[in-house]
Amino acid sequence: MTSSMSRNDIILFAGFAAVVLLLPILATPFGAAYPDLLQRFMIFGIFAIGFNILFGLTGYLSFGHAAFFGVGSYAAMWSFKLLSLNAVPALLFALIVSGIFALAIGYVSLRRSGIYFSILTLAFAQMCYNLAYSVLTPITNGETGLRMAMSDPRYLDRMFFDAAPGMPVPSLFGMSLGGWNGFYFSAFFLLATFFLAMRISNSPFGLMLKGIKSNQNRMNYTGFNTRPYTLSAFVISGMLAGLAGALLVVTDPLAGAERMRWTASGEVVLMTILGGVGTLVGPVLGAWIIKYFENIFSSFNANVLNSFYSFLPDGVREVAVTISSKFVGEGWHLSLGLVFVLIVVFLPGGIMEGARRIAAWFGRMGNGSKRASEARAQPAE
C-alpha cells in the first residue's frame, strides 16, 4: 500500500474529480442538474464502487448487497434519533454497524463460492428485508419507514444545545445538508471512495484479490489462505454500501425496507455490469445511467412526447408518440432491459469497453487518415 500514485492515476483522479464537481453544470443539458438526482448519482456511485471492489476484484457475485445499504440507512437514522443531528456520528455508526453485518454474513457466505455464494448472500438479504418489513417493525417502522420526529431524544445534542424549533434535519456542525450542500457532501465521499478503490486496486492486496479471481485453486495450492483476503474485500464492500445507505438518509431523511429487497441488490449488479465490471469509472457511470433512466426517462409522459415530436405532422406524430411511449415513461424498464441485454451480449466489458473500442477505432482512423493524406500527398511530390 506504500506505492505512490502513478502519473496516470493522478490524471484519472483529477479528471474524475473535475467531472463530479462540475456535474451541476455538465448535467444541465440533460435535465438532470437538480440536487436530489445528483445526490443520488453520488450515493449510488459509492454503492457501485463498493460492490465492484468485491465483484470486480474477486469475482464473487453477491446478490444481497442491498442488505448492507439498508442496514447503513437504519443505523444512520438511529444515530440521528438517539445521538445527534450531526452527520459525522451517523456515518461512523453506519460504517460500524454495516461492517459488523458484512463480517457476519461474509464469514458464513464465503465458505462457499460460485452460485452457492450468490444464493447465500441473496438468502441473507431477503431475510433482512422480510424481517425489517414485519416483526422488526419496532426498529425499522416497517412499510412506513423510519423517520425523525421532533420528540426524538438526541442525547448528544441535548447535552450541548437547546432543541431547535421546527422539524429536525441532518446537519454538519450546524450546516444543513439539504440541496446542494448535500450534493457536495456526498461528492466528497464519492471522491474518497474512488480514491480508496484506486489505491486498493493498485496495492498488493488488490493484486491478491485479482489472483483469487483468476484462479482460486492455484492460490490455495501455493499454501495461501485466501479467505482473509476475500473476507476483507467483502467487509470493505459492505461498509461502503452502508456508507451509501447512510448518505441517502443524510440527504433524504427516511429509511425504508424496500431498499433491502433483492431487486435493489440486482440493481447494483446491473449498474456495475452496465458501466464495466472491474474498471474504476465504469460502476459509477452505470449507477448514473440507471438513476438517470429511473428519474428522467420515467417522467417523459405523453405531453412531453407530443411536444418533442411537435415538428411531425399529426398522424405521424401520434404513431411516433405511441411507439416511444412504450420505451419511456412507465415503459422505461423495457429500455433498460434492452440496453442491458445488448451490453451483455456485445460489450461484456460494459460501457468502458465500448469507450475503449471507440477510442481505439478513432486512433486507427486518425492514423489511417494521416496515412491516407500522406499517400495522397505523395504524387504531388
Binding site: Y34, E143, T144, M150, A163, A164, V169, M175, G179, L254
Partner: protein
C-alpha cells in the same frame, strides 16, 4: 445557549462557503432571491407535480388517477365541460386557471415504492418547480412524500391512502387527505355486517404484515368485538405472498365462521380468490353460513376478483353510481372523456386538485401557509360525499363513507359494486386526538432550491 443554526442561504451569503460546498458557483441558486417561498410561480403558468404509481402493484389505480388529474386540470383551465367546478359549494374557482395562471403538470412514476416516490417528488419540486405535489396509491408512499413535503415547504394533497397514520401519528402541516381511513371503515362496516351476520360470530383475521394492515386489523377488531363478535385468531401474512393457501388451510378447522381479509390490491384479489376456492363460501361453521368480509376494497380490485367478490361486504370512499349532483357530474365528465366510469382513486385525485386550486383562490396567493389556512377547517359540499369538512386538527376530511357489496348481477364490466349504505359524516367522525401525532409548523423551511 442557543443552537448554532444556519440555513443554506445563510451559508452562501456568508464568507464560509468553503468546507464541503467547495466552490458552489452562485448561478446554481439563481432565482433563489427572487422568490420569497419555494417555487413561487412568477410566470403565466403554475405546475402541479403528479406522483403516481404507473408501474408496480397499484399501476391501474395510478393510471386512473392520472386520467382524473388531467381532467381536473382541463376543467381548472376552463376547457371541457367544467366538471365539478359547477357544483362545488362554496367555490372561488373561475375556470381561468389558478389566480389567472394556466395550470400545467409534470408526472413521476413512483413504482409504489417510498424511496422512488420521494425521489420523484423531489425532482418535481427541485427541477420542475412544482407548487404542489399530489397523488399516490399506498400509505407508505403517502407518508414518506408527506414528510418530505413538510421539509421542503410544499403542499401535499394525498391520493389514495387508507392508513390511520397518514392523518394520525404521521400527520403533517403540509399534508392533506381527502380519502377516508381504516378507523372510519371499521365504524362504518361494523353495524352493517352485524345486522347481516348476527352478533354472535367468531372471526378469523388474515392481515397483511405491515403498518396499514395492522391499523386496519386493530380498527376492525375493535369495531366487531364491540358488536359481540369473538376474534379467534389474527394471523399476519407476508406482503405480496401470492399464494395464501398455507394461511387459509388452518382457517378451515379453527372454529371461526367469518374470515376477515385485511389485504389490499393484488394481495386481496389473490387471498379472496383462493379463499373462495377453499370452499369457504359454501361452508357451514358453528351451524351458520361461513362468510368472508373485506373491510376495504376498490372497484378495480373487485374487477380483479371477478365472480368471487359477489355478495362480499366492504367499504369505499366513493362510488360512481351515487345519485347526488356532484357524483353524477363527475361520472358523466369522466365517462365522456375516457369511456369508462371513474374509480374512487380517480375521484379522490380529482377532488384534491380542485380543493387545492380553490384554497389558493380563496387565499389570494400561492404562499403555502396562507393556502394551508384556507384549507384547514374548510367546509364544502357538492363533491360527492355530502357536506364535507377538512378538519383543522389532523387534515382529515370528515364526510360520509360508503358500505358496499359485490354486485350479484352486474350489468356491465364496471357495475361490480352495490352501495349498501351511505354512513353519515356524524357517525364516522372521531376524536382526532386518539391517534396522537403532531402537525408541525406551517412556516416553510427555506430548503427549496
Amino acid at each position: 445557549m442557543t443552537k448554532f443554526h444556519m440555513n443554506r442561504r445563510g451559508i452562501l451569503k456568508g464568507a464560509g462557503a468553503g468546507l464541503v460546498t467547495l466552490a458552489t458557483p452562485h448561478f446554481f441558486t439563481k432565482g433563489a432571491w427572487a422568490q420569497d417561498f419555494c417555487n413561487n410561480p412568477t410566470g403565466g403558468t403554475v405546475t402541479f407535480g403528479l406522483n403516481l404509481p404507473l408501474t408496480g402493484t397499484y399501476a391501474e389505480e395510478g393510471a386512473d388517477e392520472l386520467k382524473a388529474y388531467e381532467l381536473a386540470i382541463k376543467h381548472l383551465n376552463g376547457e371541457g365541460d367544467g366538471g365539478l367546478l359547477n357544483v362545488l359549494k362554496p367555490s372561488a374557482l373561475k375556470g381561468n386557471g389558478i389566480l389567472g395562471k394556466k395550470v400545467e403538470f409534470v408526472t413521476s412514476d413512483s413504482q409504489t415504492l417510498s424511496d422512488v416516490a420521494r425521489a420523484g417528488a423531489t425532482r418535481m419540486i427541485e427541477r420542475d418547480n412544482a407548487i404542489m405535489i399530489t397523488g399516490g396509491s399506498s400509505s407508505g408512499e403517502a407518508i414518506a412524500v408527506q414528510s418530505l413535503c413538510q421539509e421542503m415547504g410544499i403542499i401535499f394533497m394525498a391520493g389514495l391512502t387508507h392508513s390511520n397514520d397518514t392523518t394520525g401519528k404521521d400527520k403533517r402541516r403540509y399534508g392533506f387527505r381527502h380519502f377516508f381511513n381504516a378507523y372510519q371503515s371499521g365504524i362504518a362496516i361494523a353495524p352493517v355486517i352485524g345486522e347481516a351476520y348476527g352478533n354472535d360470530r367468531r372471526a378469523y383475521h388474515l392481515t397483511a404484515d405491515y403498518t396499514w394492515g395492522w391499523t386496519q386489523e386493530e380498527s376492525i377488531k375493535a369495531a366487531t368485538e364491540a358488536l359481540g363478535w369473538e376474534t379467534v385468531a389474527a394471523v399476519r401474512t407476508p406482503l405480496g405472498a401470492g399464494d395464501y393457501s398455507q394461511f387459509l388451510t388452518p382457517v378451515l378447522n379453527s372454529g371461526a365462521d367469518v374470515l376477515i381479509l385485511n389485504h389490499y390490491g393484488n394481495d386481496m384479489v389473490n387471498s379472496l380468490t383462493q379463499a373462495v376456492q377453499f370452499g369457504m363460501r359454501d361452508r357451514q361453521a358453528n351451524g351458520k353460513q361461513f362468510e368472508i368480509v373485506v373491510p376495504l376494497f376498490s372497484e378495480l380490485m373487485a374487477k380483479g376478483a371477478g365472480e368471487n367478490i359477489k355478495g362480499i361486504f366492504g367499504t369505499s370512499n366513493w362510488h360512481w353510481a351515487l345519485e347526488d349532483e356532484g357524483s353524477q357530474a363527475f361520472t358523466k365528465s369522466f365517462g365522456a372523456a375516457y369511456g369508462s366510469p371513474p374509480s374512487q382513486a380517480a375521484h379522490t385525485a380529482y377532488v384534491q386538485a380542485l380543493l387545492y386550486a380553490d384554497a389558493v383562490e380563496r387565499a389570494g396567493t400561492f404562499y403555502p401557509p396562507e393556502v394551508i389556512k384556507a384549507l384547514e377547517g374548510f367546509e364544502f359540499d357538492g363533491m360527492g360525499n355530502g357536506p364535507t369538512l377538512y378538519r383543522a386538527e389532523d387534515h382529515q376530511c370528515m364526510k360520509s363513507v360508503l358500505v358496499v357489496r359485490g354486485n350479484e348481477n352486474p350489468t356491465s364490466q364496471f357495475d361490480v359494486l352495490d352501495v349498501v349504505q351511505e354512513v353519515s359524516r356524524e357517525t364516522t367522525t372521531y376524536d382526532p386526538s386518539i391517534f396522537g401525532g403532531e402537525l408541525g409548523s406551517a412556516e416553510p423551511v427555506p430548503q427549496c432550491t
